[in-house]
Amino acid sequence: MSDQQILNLEERFQQRIDAEIKVEPKDWMPEKYRKTLIRQISQHAHSEIVGMLPEGNWISRAPSLRRKVALLAKVQDEAGHGLYLYSAAETLGAERDQLTRDLLDGKAKYSSIFNYPTLSWADIGAIGWLVDGAAIMNQVMLTRNSYGPYARAMVKICKEESFHQRQGYEIMLTLAKGTEEQKAMAQDALNRWWWPSLMMFGPSDAESTHSAQSMKWKIKRKSNDELRQQFVDVTIPQADFLGLSVPDKDLKWNEESGHYDFGPIDWDEFWRVVKGNGPCNRDRIKARRKAYDEGKWVREAAMAHAEKKKERKAKLAKSA
């Protein structure tokens, strides 16, 4: 194809995006659109999968049977969501196994929030409330993204996730109404998860490298700072209701703007964790690598068995 032809195709592609026509797997798309999507979708999938670990850390210690099944179902949903997202990436020609190995080799990123440890039961509440809350802001936006399979996966995920945040908030509510010890546990969890949750929306718009093109392609529809502000605005009243306070002395309601003003985010910490040096980065990847390596013989055996079965069937059909 000549450069001019590609240019024409790109122009037509952009026109369709502007007209809100979804892109589907076999449609022509700029190579960079494909690559950006694969990167973003797989990062999202990896986040779901790595995200199973911090919460999974409390499944065996859940304090009641009701909480145990809820948490187990929630962590399982994350496996499902990872799977839906890998499926979406596979429509673009990527392979799940390759994407997984990119994660294990440190070539692919995932949400940094999951590099923080879960130290108490209240962390399970805080994650459901804050981390899932922040994720939902982002995901609701993504249900309208321009790539069909990704948008459809997000619709499914949002539907299923609606219980996750409620599950977390209910845990916080129970703690907030509980003994002094439980209240302290809840406050401590909020203190530790608040800032990392704000960081989940990514660098500020001025610093964000991929944002402009992604907005133009409608892979992303709101800026990082916009979503972050939206999150703060809805979350503060929820914290008030719990009788807990967020660890930010600069936080105050701004009558004029109609939003909460909040203090500066520690971007040094953000980048330190993104670059792999947070409290649990190494543990998380090691745990995933262990599951992958120890599962290898299982996956191979199942495949070998299926092939034997197929051969036997073929032989049987021949002799009949």
Binding site: A73, G295, W297
Partner: protein, 250 residues
Amino acid sequence: MKERLFDYILQLGDNSLILGHRLSEWCGHGPILEVDMALTNISLDLIGQTRNYFQYAAKIEDKGRTEDDLAFLRTDRQYRNYLLVEQPNGDFAATIARQFYFDSFHLLFLQELVKSKDEQLAAIAAKSVKEVSYHLRFSSDWLIRLGDGTEESRTKMQEGVDDLWNFTAEFFLMNDLEKEMAAAGIGVDVQALEESYYAQIQEVFEAAKIQMPDYKPGQIGGKDGMHSEHLGHLLAEMQYMQRAYPGMEW
């Protein structure tokens, strides 16, 4: 009689609880996402069954204890689950062997329990029987895949079934409680299931090209509260919150 029934229900609930707990340890660590999710589904079924049993037991006991008191606030000697279900996950083959031995028994057992004179137990069994039919399908399919897969998987699968074989004896040696409950038409005459159990096992082993273990199974104790070393650790973890923060709502 009421006390005996209570104990009997606990025994049923404990098996589901402890095995459900063990399977939940796989969540996030399975060999592939699809299997990870399947193991969790089984775990959720089992813990759901536990809740049915314990809620019923708590009602029968009528002393204000809840399902959680029963699940989290007993000592190891008070748990009545089979030794098999408390055995650690090991590798995937060991988990499949454990699951297959239990599912095979569990299904036969529930198919009898649906006939119980105790309506509530019969109802719980009727609901569980569908779940467990699927569990057995899953575990026997995997046993066959691993047994008749690669050389490596066959070795591991054989080791798994050999190691856990010893614990299958416990299903069929009836203790006094079970005899009493069976006689009353409430519980199941498990001894009568033994023959068909081992016949079924053998059938699947043949399909899986797995050898029947070459020793007679005989290790018992769990049903009467004498457990393996593993249960204590499991309980320490499972009961952690309830023990560290007694009497609180979660």
